[in-house]
Amino acid sequence: MLEFRNISAAFDDKRVLENVTFSLRPHRLTVLLGRNGSGKSTLLRCLNQEIPYTGQITEGEKDLAFLPPKERARTVAVLPQTMPAPHITAEELIGMGRSPYLDLTGRFSAKDREMIGRAIADANAQQLCHRFVDTLSGGERQRVNLAMILAQNTPIALLDEPTAHMDQSYEAAFLRQLRYINRQRKKTFLVILHDLTLAAEYADDLVILEDGKVCFAGTKESCLKAGVIERIFDVKCYRFTENGEEKIFFSAK
């Protein structure tokens, strides 16, 4: 179980995170919500050990700050918000997901190839393998990036706004794929999203940050019941039933 305990971080003199404490329940898809500047991406940068912080981020008994980088990369995968599109094939990029397992020669073992193949299938990226990454559309590129972090074969994966700049159909398809992998592979996901409606549809659990502090962490149902999202984001919630399934929408007041 990944746990954030009393995480505080600051840029210059401005405190961005303040005693952030929550844990990810295993095999669940947790969505991290918050207004712009609430500290969501900073939290992921802390986990990636890119910026200094106080507190502890642990996975089981292991404190991530004291793990060697390769071991940390075998424990938690992180997909950053923005990534360049290099002139390499999608298959080569996906293969980079095996970097934490490779020796100096960089040769793939049978296990590496198996994991790459499985990641390509799970991310539904078979048709993209031989194309160059810089020729892919935004949605296709994110599928390839997803395959790369799946090839990392970690129990936990964190994605920072993976559906940014996607059109709505791609967004929904991407999150459906993520939920499918979450259910099939029992992988724990923490996904940063901006779209409240998508969060309500695809999350099992929600964590909401406000001004660098956790103002909610728990199941989606309890969050919706308590009306936390309406209060924090100043939105109105609409519910209706379609084909026997309850749908939830949020819109600005």
Partner: protein, 328 residues
């Protein structure tokens, strides 16, 4: 065409270029004379031309091409900037300052100029590496520190060159870059440094490949980004400084050759490094050969020829890329 096949083609091309470098020159040898001299059975004069005049130049050309191209690939990878070359980490300016200081302090000590050039080049690179290490170690920090240091060193060079016109003439000879006076014995130490830096670069190449995904993604994949960047810079500095010590300041090799190699084998450093080393060797040996025969018995320094041919070719590459990117 597969990567292995391309390398298997480049290897004999380098061998043929080297043989051409040995065969052609201002003193014409017939083919039987050439082969006799090559096997050590011909006239003594032919043997001297081949083994003591042409072989050192060919060997120096291969080493210079290998060292500068390796440095270029490393620098362009770690800074994610295709315009990066050995000059951005102070190699040229550091070597230049050391040489001009030596010329001013001990004009008769010509023999220690290569060692001084190496010390100056590597010393300047170390200062830039240390400053980059103290700051963030990011790609922009390296570039900006490099530019600032280079400006400072160039100012010192300009100041010293104002003091004595004789020094300026000798210094200009060094900045042009030439393989004319190279002797085989002088190449042993630089060769060892160039080969070690190349092998070091190959060892880092898989991790360097991941840097193309950006620092955050590379860190998430278990790469110690800052340490990797500094190690790659140290390899680049050592290799390029070793070249400067015997060939002076050869322009454009470290900048252009990685671009040519990239067109042949793609972006991944693990493939780019061997290809760039071979292409670099071929180009420098060929340029030196042309410099010797085009205006024989006069000689055009390899550095001038490299710049004359390299600059238009580089512009051609840029235009091709703009066209590919759909920019008119």
């Amino acid at each position: 065409m597969s990567y292995k096949r391309k390398i298997l083609i480049l290897l004999p091309v380098l061998l043929l270029t080297a043989l051409a470098g040995l065969y052609f020159g201002s003193a014409a040898l017939s083919l039987p004379e050439f082969f006799s001299a090559l096997t050590g059975r011909g006239q003594i004069a032919h043997g001297i031309i081949l083994w003591q005049l042409r072989l050192p130049r060919v060997a120096a050309g291969i080493l210079a091409g290998m060292g500068l191209s390796t440095a270029g690939v490393l620098l362009q990878s770690v800074t994610a900037n295709e315009l990066a070359g050995p000059n951005i980490i102070g190699i040229n300016s550091g070597a230049g300052l050391a040489v001009i200081v030596m010329l001013a302090a001990a004009p008769a000590a010509g023999k220690i100029l290569p060692a001084a050039a190496f010390a100056g080049a590597f010393g300047a690179a170390l200062v830039i590496l240390t400053a980059a290490d103290r700051l963030s170690g990011s790609r922009s920090a390296i570039l900006l520190i490099g530019i600032a240091m280079t400006t400072l060193l160039n100012a010192a060079i300009s100041f010293l060159s104002l003091l004595d016109e004789g020094i300026l003439a000798q210094y200009n000879h060094f900045t042009v870059g030439s393989l004319k006076a190279v002797q085989l014995g002088e190449l042993a130490v630089p060769a060892a440094i160039i080969i070690v830096s190349f092998l070091g670069a190959l060892g880092l190449s898989n991790q360097l490949g991941v840097l193309c995904l950006g620092d955050s993604a590379a860190a998430a994949l278990g790469i110690r980004v800052k340490r990797l960047r500094l190690m790659a810079l140290a390899c680049a500095a050592a290799g390029a400084a070793a070249v400067v010590s015997f060939a002076g300041l050869l322009g454009f090799v470290g900048l252009v050759v990685p671009h040519i190699a990239r067109r042949l084998v793609g972006e991944r450093p693990v493939r780019l490094l061997p290809c760039a080393a071979l292409v670099g060797g071929i180009i420098v040996v060929l340029a030196d050969l042309l410099g010797r025969v085009l205006f024989a018995p006069s000689e055009l320094p390899v550095g001038i020829l490299m710049s004359v041919v390299g600059a238009p070719y580089f512009l051609f590459l840029l235009c091709r890329r703009r066209k590919y990117a759909g920019i008119s």
